[in-house]
Symmetry: C2
Subunit: 278 residues, 2 copies
């Protein structure tokens, strides 16, 4: 489940976690920007509604993308692990220039798609340059380490975040969604404290982190990203904390980024967007 190898002549596709609640009518900025990086009017977007239990989720996004100007969309109804091995569905996915996973329950994504031919196909597409976006549960599922369940609140506590293996498009980041709306700073800090090698990306609603092939993140949307850089943590009591108790964490670095701002996960540096200082 490490990222599929990027062929030398290719560049990895965008990885695009969306915090949930993205605008779908009247200037749907994020979905339009996603359609742009997938080829604009020539995009062929595969919609995977597996996380959702509602029967019309896929069709609803087809309609939204149609209104944006993308005529070629296909809903891949993968409800079981058998569906994820089905050649017809894999063939439909093969044509995609962009892949979009809806919200719902991220454990439905990992238990249904994880380890199947469909998971391999999505990883291969992304390694070959195809953008892969997910909103809410779809965002949580994108990376190698996924927050499966957790509790709200600002303080990191033993047991506040429970991790599970995700799709594995990158392992440099751990995503959390509905971030400030649901007060999830504590659970993202907890998830990072286990092993402070990754960057935490808390994504607000109607906001997206466009993670480029160079692992530079661009912010789009009306909310913000909370970037948590644990690389210089000086002390953590995670290994000593007992169930439910708070955790000491010293030396965590935090960035709040808005539309147009950037963050480089390789160099751990943030850069203001073009609107800054004007």
């Amino acid at each position: 489940l490490s990222p599929a190898k990027v062929a030398k002549s290719e560049r990895r596709g965008w990885i695009i976690p969306i915090g949930g609640g993205e605008k779908k009518v009247n200037s749907p900025t994020i979905l339009s920007q996603f359609a742009n990086v997938c080829g604009g009017e020539n995009a062929r977007i595969a919609i995977i509604p597996t996380a959702s239990q509602l029967p019309d989720t896929g069709a609803r996004y087809q309609s939204v993308f149609h209104d944006i100007g993308v005529d070629h969309t296909v809903v891949i109804d993968a409800e079981t692990r058998q569906d994820c091995e089905d050649q017809g569905r894999l063939d439909a996915l093969e044509q995609a220039t962009g892949i979009f996973m809806t919200g719902g329950n991220q454990l439905r994504l990992s238990t249904t798609i994880g380890g199947t031919a469909m998971a391999k196909s999505i990883r291969r597409h992304n390694a070959d340059g195809v953008p892969v976006a997910g909103t809410s549960a779809g965002a949580a599922f994108l990376c190698e380490h996924m927050i499966a369940v957790g509790r709200s609140g600002p303080t990191p506590r033993h047991g506040k975040a429970s991790l599970a293996p995700g799709l594995g498009l990158t392992n440099r980041a751990i995503i959390d969604q509905h971030f400030r709306e649901r007060d999830r700073l504590g659970r993202l800090l907890t998830a990072l404290a286990f092993n402070p090698f990754a960057t935490g990306i808390g994504v607000d609603e109607d906001t997206a982190a466009f993670i480029g092939p160079d692992n530079v993140i661009e912010v789009h949307g009306s909310g913000g990203l909370t970037i948590i850089d644990p690389s210089d943590i000086e002390y953590s009591s995670m290994d000593l904390a007992r169930a439910g108790k708070p955790i000491s964490l010293m030396g965590v670095k935090l960035h709040i980024l808005l539309e147009g701002d950037r963050y480089d996960m390789a160099t751990h540096s943030a850069t203001p967007g073009a609107q800054a200082g004007k």
Copy 2:
């Protein structure tokens, strides 16, 4: 934290989880076999006692390896994240032909070493062919997905296993240790049920899984390996289960392997050892 890239001319080193309680005197089979793959009498073994809180753990293993015939050992006392960036310790590690991590608490390993120069060095060594072994907590830490904490018992239950990012030498396996002694089938099944892409390796005490560069596992020691292959799971209720409740899992394949038996993680096939059928 994906496996460091293996150079074309090199082969990855052995990855060797030991279930804890390995014999240290009178035919210490596993540690002798580890010393052999590290170069035998010419081995230079770096011992990392970070997981342990006891001051003499490193020296004790030095003595054991000396009795086996390995004169060149060094204890890398990495107690803080700052220690893991220290050039003197990194230089000592640089010379190793084998790396051994002791038991203790796996969260002490991940919180102390995770994301540091020492973690990068161990990953690079292993990618370049150097064997890396760990016993008990040291075994848990080896892979990309590590069981951080959990509960005993045979039944998989929501919340029975809590995962965290480990060292990441491979992501094909999830390890559990003291396996049958502490009745951990339920927690390993739970860990695998989140995303059934990995192979579960339950390692008994005084037993080791020697995972080769070709991802074929050989068993050594007096106990057994419990291999759990979730790749053909037909149904799982992991996404529906509530906190503490049991999980349905249909179609899990199980193998119990003893000394000399092998398991190929790529083809999901087990092969009896030479002693079988004689």
